[in-house]
C-alpha cells in the first residue's frame, strides 16, 4: 500500500522505432543527457580496464615511486605502494560497477518475479513471498549485508549477492502494488477470460506495463548498490585488497588524506560522479518512461 499504482497504459508493443524514440527523448531531457554522458565516460574507463588499456597494472606495486603527486606520468598520482591511482580508479569503477550490476540484476530478476507472482496470483504465493519480504525488510539492511558477507569467503561475487538479497524485497514491493491494480484492469481481465494461460497474460500484459517502474528502480538501485559497497568497505567488509573498488580505495585513503590527498580525492570524486550519473540517468528515464510524467511539462 506504500506504492503508487501507475496509471495503466494499454498493452505496449515494443518496436525498434519506439525504443529509438524513447532514447531520443531520454537524450533530450537535460538530466538524461548529462547522466548518459557521465555514465558513458565511466563505462569507457571500465572497458579500458577490462581490455588492459590502462597505463599501469592496477595492482602492480612500485615501491620507489610511492605517494607521488599527480603528474603526466601518473595522472592521479600514486598511492602508498606506488600503484597508479588513475589505473586503480579505472579498475575500481569496473569492479564497483560489476558488483552493482550483478547485484541489481539478481535483485531485479528475483524481485520482479516475486512481485509479479505475489501480485498476480495473490493467495498462498502472495502470503509466502510477503512473509519473506517482511522478514528481509525488518532486518537492518547494512547489518544484513555485513552478516552475509562474513558468512562466505569474501569476494566480489558474494558481496554482490549480499547486496542483491538486501534489494530483492524492494523490487518485490515496487512491482507488487502496480501488478495488483493491473490485474483488475479490464483488458487484463479480458485477456484472462479469453482463456489465455495466466502466465502468458502475466508476461504479455502485466510485465510490459511495469517495465518503466522497474527500469527506474534499477537505476536508483545501481547507485545505492555502489554506495552500499562503499559502506561495506568502510566497515572492512568490501572487496578484498589488492582488488581496487571505489569504496575500499576511499577507505584505505582515509589515513593518507593529509599527506597524499589525491589518493582520496580521485576515488571520492569518481564515486560521486558515478552515483550522480546513475541518478541523473534514472531521472531522465523516469521522465521519459514513467506514464505518470506524461504531459507534465
Amino acid at each position: 500500500m506504500t506504492d503508487l499504482a501507475p496509471a495503466p497504459v494499454g498493452p505496449t508493443r515494443r518496436t525498434g522505432s519506439v525504443a529509438a524514440g524513447r532514447l531520443h527523448a531520454l537524450l533530450r531531457s537535460p538530466s538524461g543527457l548529462s547522466g548518459a554522458i557521465i555514465v558513458s565516460l565511466l563505462v569507457l574507463l571500465t572497458f579500458a580496464s577490462y581490455f588492459s588499456l590502462l597505463p599501469y597494472e592496477p595492482i602492480a606495486q612500485d615501491p620507489p615511486s610511492r605517494l607521488l603527486a599527480p603528474s603526466f606520468t601518473h595522472l592521479f598520482g600514486t598511492d602508498q605502494f606506488g600503484r597508479d591511482v588513475f589505473s586503480r580508479v579505472s579498475a575500481g569503477v569496473a569492479n564497483s560497477a560489476l558488483i552493482a550490476v550483478v547485484a541489481v540484476t539478481f535483485a531485479t530478476v528475483i524481485g520482479t518475479m516475486g512481485g509479479l507472482i505475489a501480485g498476480f496470483f495473490r493467495g498462498i504465493p502472495d502470503a509466502a513471498i510477503g512473509g519473506v519480504t517482511n522478514v528481509l525488510f525488518a532486518f537492518p539492511p547494512l547489518l544484513l549485508a555485513l552478516a552475509l558477507v562474513s558468512v562466505f569467503d569474501r569476494n566480489w561475487f558474494t558481496i554482490a549477492v549480499a547486496i542483491a538479497i538486501v534489494y530483492v524485497p524492494i523490487f518485490i514491493r515496487v512491482t507488487r502494488g502496480p501488478v495488483l491494480s493491473l490485474r483488475e484492469i479490464e483488458y487484463v481481465k479480458a485477456a484472462t477470460s479469453t482463456g489465455a494461460s495466466r502466465i502468458a497474460v502475466m508476461m504479455r500484459h502485466v510485465l510490459p506495463n511495469i517495465t518503466s517502474i522497474i527500469i527506474i528502480q534499477v537505476t536508483l538501485s545501481l547507485s545505492w548498490a555502489v554506495l552500499t559497497e562503499a559502506s561495506l568497505s568502510f566497515l572492512g567488509l568490501g572487496a578484498p585488497p589488492p582488488t581496487p573498488s571505489l569504496g575500499s580505495m576511499i577507505f584505505e585513503a582515509r589515513t593518507l588524506v593529509y599527506i597524499a590527498p589525491w589518493t582520496m580525492i580521485a576515488p571520492g570524486v569518481i564515486v560521486v560522479l558515478l552515483v550522480v550519473g546513475l541518478n541523473l540517468l534514472g531521472d531522465g528515464l523516469r521522465d521519459t518512461l514513467d506514464p505518470r510524467n506524461k504531459g507534465k511539462r
Binding site: A138, P140, K296
Partner: protein, 323 residues
Amino acid sequence: MLKTFSHNSVVHRIGAAALTLFGVAIFVFIMLRAIPGNQITAGLGTEAAALTPAQKLALEQYYGLDQPLVVQFFSWLGNLFTGNLGFSSRAQQSVLDLTVAALPVTFELAIFSIILALLIGIPLGMLSASKPDSPRDALGQIVGLAGLSIPAFLLATALLSGLASSLGFNPNGQAFAPLFSDPLLNLQQMLLPSLVLGFGIAAPIMRTTRTAVLEVRSNDFIRTARAKGVPPRRLQLKHVLGNALVPIVTMTGLQFGYLLGGAVVVEQIFSLPGIGRQVLLGIQQKEYALVQSTVLVIALTFVIVNLLTDLTYRLIDPRVRAS
C-alpha cells in the same frame, strides 16, 4: 478503507508481525552460526590454539556452546518471553540493560536526522517543483543529488576531521553524554551525526516531495481550486502539500526504519554508543545472544514504526478521509 481498523484486521496485522519477527529470529540465529568462528576464538584469537581439550570444554560450557543448536535456539526464544534477552559476557551486563542504554541513543539520532531531513527536503522539493526545469529546480535537484551521492562516511570523516583540526570543535571526542544527564553536551554530540544522516535522507525526501507535488498539481481538483481563485500560498500549502503528504510520510517512515540499523557507520565515526554499534560489536565478538536479541529488537521497532506510518497515512490521506 476505514474497515482496515476493524478488530479482525488488527489481530491479523499483529499475527503477521509476530510471524515476521519469528522469521527474523530464525534467520539471524542461522546466519550467526554460519559465520566462521565462535566466541572462544573471537576472544582468544590464535591463542585459542594453546587450549587443552579440557580447557576448551570448560569454555564451551561457560558460553553455552556445548548445547545442541535446537536447544540453544529455543532456550534463547523461551528466555525472551520472560524478558531475559541474554547476557553479554564482554560487557558483563544483560542484553536488556545494554539495549535500554543504546536504543534511545539511536532513536534520538534518528529523530534529529529525520527532522533535519524534513526541514531541508520538503522546502527544497517544493522549490524544485514550483517551476520544473528552471534554475531553481536545477539547484534543488543538485542538492538532492549531492545528498544521494556522497557516501555518509566520507562526509562524516571530512566534517569531523575538518572541524576538529581547524576549529578544535569536537564534542564527540568527549565521553558520551546521555540526553538526560547532560543535555547541552548531548545535543552538541548529536549535531554532526544528525547533519550527516539528515543530509543523506533529505535527498529521497526532496525527490519524493517534488514528484508528489508535481503529480498533485496536475490533478483536476487543484486546477479547479486555482480557477476558483484560492490564493496561491494557501493553494500551495493546504491543497498541494496536504495532498502530497502521503508519499512523503511513507518515505519518512521507511527512512526512519532504515536508520535504526543503518546509522552504524555514523555511530562508529562519531563514537555514539547506539544500537547499530551494539550489533556490529556483537557480530565481531560472536556474542550470539547479544546479536540475536538486538536484531530482534530492531526488527520489532521497525515493525512498530511501519504500523505507525500506516496509521498516519490513513489519517492524513484525504481520499481516505473523504470516504
